[in-house]
Amino acid sequence: MSERFSPLLFSILCFGIAVLYIPIVVLIGYSFNASELVNVWGGFSTAWYTELLHNRQILNAAALSLEVGVVASTGAVILGTLAAIALTRYRKFRGRLLLTGMVNAPLVMPEVVTGITQLLLFVSMLQFFGWPHRGFTTIVIAHVAFCTAYVTITVQSRLMSADRSLEEAAMDLGSGPVRAFCEITLPIIAPALAAGWLLSFTLSLDDLVISSFVSGPGASTLPMVIYSKVKLGLSPDVNALASIIICVVGGCVVLAGYFMRRADRRRQLEIQMADR
């Protein structure tokens, strides 16, 4: 049902959306500014983009961030899916309350607190076991820990709505539990796994605070480089870098949303056909 709503309501909605988008649009606009002065429009130019390609510091940081993002989100999807299965399929087990707590805690835990506690663990571990050295490994572990929470919640809601009887039917027909899971349940929850991976990847790519705490000398992720550049003063190449990141991530999200909806719709159609 659609209802007419007052012009006031409509203008607040437009205002809110404008507030969300104007800064991003302006940022992208400035990234094509030929002038080095931020408040003077010096004509259209892609100079800052070419400059990025020659900035070794930024390229290295981008490579590290992408690597961390891929490894961490893959790890988080594996652990998060296992946790989601454990929490939806096994009603009672020792440690259930603990697991529930640890899955929800990162959502309320301030990043500065998570960051410092994990760093202290890594430092103590290094003292006793000689592992892990601060850098890539510690950043990945820290990211897996907080991304797992988001994956678990995403997959959990999908699993709860999935029809368990299909899997049971497959097992009645003689497939083992692993095969029944892989052939029946996995395709059903696949969109949630993809969404969880994508969410983890963007969260990992974006994380400044936790990475800053647990990283060591020489390992700077992209947000760490951007933060220090912004802190030192405006540098126009950050505009170009920011525009690229925003467009790539935004494009990925829109595409992923589109494909997931299409897959979902096809699935619904297949179910309808099967019912007939």
Partner: protein, 293 residues
């Protein structure tokens, strides 16, 4: 095998999170009782084995005493609470009408609006804060436009003020407020409103008596999603705020990175956990339980 098979699924995430999420808090607690020392890592041992094979436990409460005596900590704690509270309130005042308007529009429009609101949530937090700086800085878009239209004579000073911190938090967290509000408002039963209208109630009356009370779960969820991360916020006060805008997250960061005082930073983290995060988590736990009943 069949009986213990489920442990293969439960144990990996359980053990990983225990080791890398839970145990770190024990280490932070331990090191908050240590003292700063010039060595690697930069604190004294709390637990040590003396040469004559005795375990020595040396707890120092000096960090906690320091938190109580230096008023920076109490001030920044209250300041974080106040900032988070008022920005949550403003987010609610802007977000509620937005969510309400969304819930009243047609299904097709709803999907597009939803995507528009969700998209900023996926884009980098740090970059959005940086983008906001481009608007509100002295020679930014806002001042340029206001000067051009002759509304002001001198550029407004927004950057490095409390106002900038508020703007930053509201701008960054508005989608977190709108989404849960929309989810509850969308499910609202329209027949109730129609019944109220049939019985002669003006729309504002129906809104106050029906819509608002029924949307309370969304109001609470949205407020939590804004309030909780806003208290511990570091990036916004650090990039947009001035030296006075000391939020607790920033104090912890400075203690750790600038003063290199790991024990005091740990004590700040533990105090933060006990005073703020703990009560919120407990509140949520019981709130959810209460709703299930």
């Amino acid at each position: 095998m069949e009986r213990h098979g489920h442990w293969l699924i439960i144990l990996p995430p359980l053990l990983f999170l225990i080791v890398f999420f839970l145990i770190p808090f024990a280490f932070a607690l331990k090191i908050s009782f240590a003292e700063t020392a010039i060595r690697v890592p930069p604190y004294t041992d709390v637990l040590a084995i003396t040469p004559d094979k005795h375990i020595q436990l040396s707890l120092s409460l000096s960090n906690y005493k320091y938190l109580l005596t230096d008023e920076v900590y109490a001030v920044s704690y209250m300041y974080s609470l106040r900032t988070a509270f008022f920005s949550t309130l403003i987010c609610l005042l802007i977000g509620y009408p937005m969510a309400y308007a969304m819930s009243r529009s047609s299904k097709a429009t709803q999907n597009i609006l939803l995507l528009i609101i969700i998209l900023p949530f996926w884009t980098s937090f740090l970059l959005r804060v940086y983008a906001l700086e481009g608007i509100i800085r002295e020679n930014g878009l806002l001042n340029t436009a206001l000067l051009r239209f002759g509304l002001i004579d001198h550029p407004l000073k927004i950057m490095r003020t409390t106002l900038a911190v508020y703007l930053g938090i509201i701008y960054s967290y508005l989608p977190f407020m709108v989404l849960p509000l929309f989810a509850t408002l969308e499910k609202l039963d329209n027949t109730l409103l129609e019944a109220a209208a049939d019985l002669g109630n003006p729309p504002w009356r129906a809104f106050l008596d029906i819509t608002l009370p029924l949307s309370m779960p969304g109001v609470i969820a949205g407020s939590m999603l804004v309030f909780i991360p806003a208290i511990g916020e570091f990036v916004i006060p650090s990039l947009l705020g001035g030296p006075d805008n000391l939020m607790i997250g920033r104090v912890l960061w400075d203690e750790f990175f600038n003063n290199r005082d790991w024990p005091v930073a740990s004590a700040v983290a533990i105090a933060f956990l006990v005073l703020l995060v703990g009560p919120i988590a407990l509140y949520q736990h019981y709130n959810v339980k209460g709703m299930e009943l």
